[in-house]
Assembly symmetry: C5
Homo-oligomer: 364 residues x 5
């Protein structure tokens, strides 16, 4: 009993309700609501153009805000969004709307794209697999400005290593293009990681499928339900992405060049594919449950058949034995010489008859 609990039921975190923490504050208030401990934000600034690339790390607001040449593209990556003062300072420095900042640090914000005058703001959910192959979601916010992409992320762990490698190579297309292409490349990296998550889900569906066929224990049903919940949650984070990318493509903002839209169309394709897969996984997990139920009733059928065969054969025989166990004074059979052997013959004939009957019914 204890063991089943351990496997099947995830422990609920007793978290302080986000809603109650937020209730009553004015919209636009920049307040971090996640579960991470308060730490200083660390900012990595990558400035590059076709000729050169320079990477600096700082925690000093002024370093981040200092003048930068429009000749270069700047990627400002902020790790750690618990320091509300710092974030607000950053926002003021770049002239960002406070509502935007609120969403940037709101770790429960659903994916969104908002166009403001002069910049485009986006929130996406980064999904990656941790060392135990569990799906971990992390909040991520982007601001695409002229020549600059600002990224807010909650934890250091990120999915942008591929982008960094391509930036490091002087021949990469990414170095020749502007901030909008960088923005696309980051988004594309996030979407690419969704595929890893889908593969993991697929793997779990296949494992459960094997278990349902070969070993349909109750724990399997619980795991199917857990899988369904996981798919529901992942879907919630991934589903809106297709709509958002499509809105970027249709955007008339001068910040996104026509060339980059070709690439975004590719990202859209991937989002569509991901949504289709999720839909299929959902139907598959429903089929799994159906299959589990059918295997359950099949097992029940088998149990019942054994009971019925045993009972149907031996109950009549026991009855016959009971007859000749009676103590009536006048029971002529008891005195026949072949009475006993006759009873045995009768019993064997009955047993064989019933076995044939059950065989015919395909119960054996």
């Amino acid at each position: 009993m204890a063991a089943r609990r351990k496997v099947g039921i995830p422990k609920r975190k007793k978290k302080v309700s986000r809603v109650q923490g937020k209730m009553g504050t004015a919209p636009g208030t920049v307040s971090y609501l996640g579960s991470k401990e308060k730490t200083q934000s660390v900012v990595t600034i990558t400035e590059y153009n076709e000729e050169s690339i320079e990477i600096n790390e700082t925690s000093n607001l002024e370093d981040v805000l200092k003048y930068r040449s429009p000749q270069k593209t700047t990627w400002i990556n902020v790790v750690g969004i618990t320091d509300e003062k710092f974030i607000e300072g950053l926002g003021k420095g770049f002239g960002l709307n406070p509502l935007l900042l609120e969403d940037a640090v709101n770790t429960d914000q659903r994916p969104k794209i908002d166009e403001y005058d002069g910049y485009i703001f986006g929130v996406f959910r980064m999904l990656y697999l941790n060392s135990e192959d569990e799906i971990v979601p992390e909040h991520m916010a982007f601001v695409l400005m002229e020549n600059t992409v600002l990224v807010f992320q909650e934890v250091k762990e990120d999915v942008f290593d591929g982008v960094r490698n391509r930036l490091a190579s002087p021949k990469g297309r990414i170095r020749a293009r502007g901030a909008d292409y960088l923005f696309f490349a980051l988004l594309d990296a996030i979407i690419d990681h969704y595929f890893l998550v889908l593969e993991q889900i697929n793997h779990r569906i296949e494992a459960l499928e094997d278990e349902v066929y070969l070993n349909p224990k109750p724990i399997v049903a619980q795991n199917i339900q857990l899988l369904k919940k996981e798919v529901l949650k992942v879907r919630r984070w991934i589903y809106p992405v297709k709509e958002l990318v499509s809105r970027l493509i249709d955007s008339e903002s001068h910040l996104i060049h026509k060339d980059t839209k070709l690439f975004l169309r590719d990202a859209l394709d991937h989002s569509l594919e991901i949504n289709e897969s999720l839909q299929i996984y959902r139907e598959m997990s429903m089929s799994l449950m159906e299959m589990y139920m059918s295997n359950m009733s099949n097992k029940m059928n088998e149990v019942m058949k054994v009971l019925t065969i045993m009972a149907s054969i031996f109950i009549p025989l026991t009855f016959i034995a009971g007859i000749y166990g009676m103590n009536f004074e006048h029971m002529p059979e008891l005195h026949y010489k072949y009475g006993y052997i006759t009873v045995w013959v009768v019993m064997i004939v009955i047993s064989i008859g019933l076995l044939i009957y059950f065989k015919r019914k395909d119960w054996l």
Copy 2:
């Protein structure tokens, strides 16, 4: 039996049918149809601008309607809508359409937004948790006019304390903005409370989940059904909000400034998130029922296995005992010296054989 009824089945209120009470009256007739006792309306008038704020309470119609400076924003909050005369007077005083007033006091009105010349009318359902964590819905109506927001609510209990606190602070953004921002702030407070309700539903789903896994009693199935009904009802009140907020954003009325629309977009985001959550809760509650059914058939399987094992082992043994309980004169075995011990050996062999068979079938 009595106890089950107490827990599982909510008592039906014998309410006078709203419909029959209303049937045959002309549209636009202002008649209160709720279940509250008739009381005097109490009006709280909050006048404020960036410099000052003044709060008055009155039940006198003339006090409410007297001239007010367009320099200030006025929030007229009417608690108690059973006094139809008072409401009609108020409506005439502000030049409101009688159809609007009818909806304002109609406690069964579904959420709506209607734009009239010179004012915007909205009905929303306020949801809050009472002291027993039950979800209580209350009817609420808003009129947004130039410089003035008129609020009708059925009971004193409300969700606007956060707004009042922000109004009290001289530095709050809310003091610097007009009636449309106040309208948004009130709406936002209502939507924020929906999150509390969702959290409560989530909590109940998780509690039921644990019960389904550990203790699947019939009462659990009833509670799952009650939860499903609750989700259906909450959804009915919350679902239209997204559409209504979106219509406000698209509205061309001069009453809503462009700046406020940015904030409304935020409220729209929240409504979308709430609807998604409700959808997920709905699917989860269906999964719960499925899980309950699967646990039920699992339990049945277990019961059947016990019966089958007991019966399959002891029925053949009893038959053997019955054989040698027969009173035939000529039963040679009865006279063998080791007859009795042989029978025991045979019986033990049969039992062990069957136990091995059941073990192999994984029934033990």
Copy 3:
């Protein structure tokens, strides 16, 4: 068996197929297809303006068609649509399209709104509860012309008493407004009666819910299915209304004034509410069936447990008794002084052990 049939299965009416009756006639042929006996049409003519009101009843076509002052609004209410000649005469008199007349007397016509030059034609289904609280549908057709509303109804029983009362009162808003407002008022009366029908359905759902919880007999399942069919049928008549009213609101016909559209918007609100309720009732009736099935398997579980407990305890005991009922010559236990009492002790120990086992499994 006979009783079940009486309750659960509605008697099928052996009706002459409408389709076969109609097959092969030209479209536009005015032919009554309902089940009422052929009777003379009775026409009630109500002429009114703000000053006066006059009500006449006639069965004479010429009286109906005679010249009327455009100063007054005229409501021509035709009860009885079996007299095809009369209807055709009426249609010619008012210059109506024969297709319209065909629909007006076609008692199977689904709800519709058709705009013709100079008049608007509508078919709606009036639903009311008869004395046994059964839902009775009646076909109803409207023609809105300049200053005149023409109503065709199959039976005298109608839902317009509220409208008549408001017309009778000289101060009513209805007297001051034209034919379009009368048309709205009649439509509104029909929609208001839908609420009564919904209340009845809700009442039946609640009654079935109690039965499912307390007394899940097969007849309950049949009644749930009947309810589902009833909801399906009512939905068929009510569902299109929302679309139709919305089309009236968007209509550019000069016959419907802008003021009246405000009222129609109200009627639209009601239709939406009704559709939502029907949707919720549908989901509830599906939940009911699910609950019924879960209660059924629960009952089965209980039955099986009783069987298993009885059989598991007494079958081993009977086996032991069987053992010492054997007639072997050499059974030492039979001769022990405390053999009998020992057997009893063993049996009681086994029973208690099994009871503890079942208790632990929560089967008792």
Copy 4:
């Protein structure tokens, strides 16, 4: 077993695969793919105007193609589409696109409307009931040209007798109107026959409903599944019609006059009604299956109750009898004078106790 097969499972026709027959031919190739034997096409030519009507039958291509007065409307009805040469000749004579001809003889073509310059082409599925009340689908193609309607049908059996009768009458509206009205009249006749099919389906649902309630045998489940398949198939043929008629109404082709569109609107109404009915039948057939399953578990419950009652009463009694059948030397009860009668009393008390218990549990 054999009998079940006969009733429940339709025999599969070993048909030559259409697809394989067609694979690799160029589009626009006129090749008949149906199952009818190759026969000569028979053409019935009906020429009429308000004054006169003339009907001729021929199998000669030149007779069909000869010059006709534009003063008259011509209905060319081709029965038999296996003669590909003849069809191609006809097509060339009237200047029709080869793709159109391909579809005209493709008996698997789904319903469609295509507008070409100068003519409109439509394919519909005619459904009728054969002498055994089975639903028979037949392919049918129409070409509406100036003054002429060309109809291709696979078999003589058709649904146009009503149209022919109306044409025969000199006063019929159909004689006064042109080819577009004839086209509508033919379409309307097809749609009217759909109602007959729906009635048949309804009849079968009601029959199955009675069987489910009174006699839920496995064959009933099979018949419900067959019904579901039938509804799916009929839906496939009927469902597109609504869309097609609606496209005809919106068509800007000069071939369809405004007056005829009023009639088409009527046909649209009927298609909508048919689709609604099919939807309801689908839900009903799902309910039927649900009901069947619920009746099945109900029956199982009854069976289990009988077993449990019989076993629970007699197993303990048999045990008691077994006790006193033991052969211990020292069993004092055996020698009591009233031992036997006491045992009977105890047994009767136990039986009555159990019966009361079962009665209380409502199992009796």
Copy 5:
């Protein structure tokens, strides 16, 4: 057990994750990700016009890229897409976008149509049946350029034999038309093969249907689930085609002539039909599972009935025998002359009574 595994559960290929292979590379990188071994690409070049046709095979890039007369239509068919260098060279030679080339060799690419300046790119999934009637999907990419169609396919096996035959015939329409018609013809060939796949699925549904009715073993349930998965997968590849063809028809590109659009409309018709069929197959496979479950509970019912009848008849009889097996000293019946025969009569009467009871309940 082993056998079941062999039949029911497909072996999972341990494939190198595509996603991990791709992760971190720049978009537009041409890298083959399929499972085929690296081989040289083989290019078949077909040049034709109405007068002549010439077919060449080469693996030399320059041969492929050399100048060609715009008087002829060229079909360049590339078999084998593992040689990334070759593909890139080809792309550069024809001036194709690298993103396009990436998709052309990405064997996981979902179906798509992208319009670029000067060419149209499409990816489709070719489905064919292998020698064991399994459905095999193959990736296929098309580029429609002025006068030229470029086709990329992974394996030699293809579905274009019909097109080749028609090209070989000097009188075929295909020879007279341009590259757009060739493009359509290839697409049409792919869609035609979908019908073969559908037929195979239909065949399997019918086979499973027979098994469900006649022999509902657990393996059948597994096969139904496998079928459902197959339908899901096929649907994923086929479903987008309808949308893509429809986009081609609406395209304003000069590459597709108006005449060809008529043919594309035909292809659209076929895609719609295929999607409808898939939808119907999906519903049928769900019905199959339902039917299987209903047959399972039916079988269970039968098993239970046999058990109940056997137990209900013999348990009471055994009890009676037990009574007269008791060893009480004072049992008067034992000494009656007709005691034994009376007991037999009583037993027979009880048996017959029970048999009649079961007969009445329809259990026999």
